[in-house]
Amino acid sequence: MRRPRWFGVVLAVSLAIALTFLTVPVVAIFVGSSPADLISSLGERGSLDALWLSLRTTTISIAIILIVGTPAAYLLASRSFRGKALVVTLIELPLVLPPAVAGIALLAAVGPAGILGGAVEAAGIELSLTTAGVVVALTFVSSPFYVRQAMAAFAAVDRSLLDASRTLGASEARGFLRVMIPVALPGLASGMALALGRALGEFGATLMFAGSFQGVTQTVPLAIYDRFSTDFDSALALSAVLVALSAAILLAVKFVHGGAALGGWQAE
C-alpha cells in the first residue's frame, strides 16, 4: 500500500517557510550589530530614558489593569445578566481597534478638546503629552487582553469550588480572594503576560495621544522609530532589548502554564 508521503512533505515545507520567515528578522537584530555597539549605544542618555520610561509606564498600567480588571472579569465570568454579550464586546473592542484609531479616540475623549477634556482638566490632571497620558494609552490598548483571558480563566474554574467555600462559611469576597484567584492564577498570569507584551510594544496610540518627548512620553518603541533613520545602531540596540524582554515574558508564561499557555491541542 502506498502511503501519501507527499502530504508529510507539504507539512514540513510549510513549517520551514514559516519558521524562516518569522525568525530571520529577529535573528538579524542581533547579527546586525556587534555586542559592543549595542552596549555603547544603550549607554546614551536617550536610550536609557526610553527604557526607564517604558518600564515605569508599563508597570503602572499593568498594576491598574490587574486591580480593576480582575474583579471586572470575575463579575463577567460568574454572573449572567441582560446585555452581558454587549458589555463583553465593548470591552474587547480595543483589541481590534487600529492603534492610530485608539490614539484619536483617546484624544476625542480625554484630550484637551475632548468630550471629557474639561472634566479631566478641572480635576487637575494633565494627560495629553504627559507621562500619565502614556499610561492611559497603554492601559487602553492592553487591558482587553487581560480581561478577556481572566474571564476565560475564572469561567474555567469548577463552580462547585466557590459553592464549597460558601458552605464552609466564607463570603463570596473571601472565596474570590482565597479560592478563585489562586485556582485561576495560571490563566490570570498568561493574560497579564499578553497585556504586558502589548503594553511594552505599544506605538501608535502613545504617539498620537502622548506624543514623543524624550524622557516624558518617548517609550522604547517610539525611541526606535525616532532614530532608525539617523542612528540605526542605536535603534537596533533598543530593539534587541525589547526582543529580549518579550522573549522573557513569553518564556515566563509558558513556564507558568506548563506549555499550554498560548493554546494548543496538548492543553487538556
Binding site: D158, G169, E172
Partner: protein, 154 residues
C-alpha cells in the same frame, strides 16, 4: 429538624418538593438522574434560590421567599459534601480541612486539621496536594461515599 419546601424551575427541571428530617434521622433521596435530588440539597444549603420556598433548620428560618428572608449559604452552618468533593486544588490536605477555621493562628489551625485527618487515618498525608483525590479513589474508599477529607471538612 430540617424542613425544605421548594418550587423552582432549574433548566428543564421543574422542582416541587417538600421534605422534612427529624434530628438523628437519616434521609435518603432516590430518583433517576435529573430528578432534582441535588437541587433539593442545594436549596437546603443556600446554593440555589427557588422561586418559592421555605427552609427551616432547628427552629431557624433559612429561607422564606414570601417573608423575604434569605440567610446566605455562608451563614447557615450547613455541611455539604459535593459530588465531586470540590477539594481546593491549590491547598494541601490540612489546608483544605482548615479552610473554615478562622481567627486562629496558623499553628492552631494546622493542629486541629491534622487531628481530624488522623482520626480518618490520613494524618501522614496532611501536606499532600492534588493527587490525594485519586489516591482515595484508588483505595476504593470513594465509591458512593464521600472521601475522608471531604468528610473531615464537612
Amino acid at each position: 429538624m430540617l424542613s425544605v419546601e421548594a418550587r423552582a424551575t432549574v433548566g428543564a427541571l421543574r422542582l416541587d418538593v417538600a421534605v422534612a428530617v427529624d434530628p438523628g434521622e437519616c434521609l435518603a433521596l432516590a430518583g433517576p438522574s435529573g430528578a432534582g435530588k441535588t437541587s433539593v440539597l442545594r436549596v437546603a444549603a443556600g446554593l440555589l434560590r427557588p422561586a418559592q420556598g421555605l427552609v427551616e433548620a432547628n427552629g431557624e428560618t433559612w429561607l422564606d421567599t414570601e417573608g423575604g428572608i434569605e440567610v446566605p449559604a455562608e451563614r447557615r452552618r450547613c455541611g455539604y459534601v459535593f459530588q465531586d468533593y470540590a477539594l481546593f486544588p491549590h491547598l494541601t490536605a490540612w489546608q483544605n480541612v482548615a479552610y473554615p477555621l478562622r481567627r486562629l493562628g496558623r499553628r492552631e489551625r494546622r493542629a486541629r486539621a491534622v487531628g481530624l485527618l488522623e482520626r480518618l487515618g490520613l494524618g501522614e498525608r496532611a501536606d499532600a496536594r492534588r493527587r490525594l483525590n485519586h489516591e482515595i479513589t484508588a483505595r476504593g474508599l470513594s465509591q458512593g461515599a464521600p472521601p475522608p477529607r471531604s468528610r473531615a471538612r464537612a
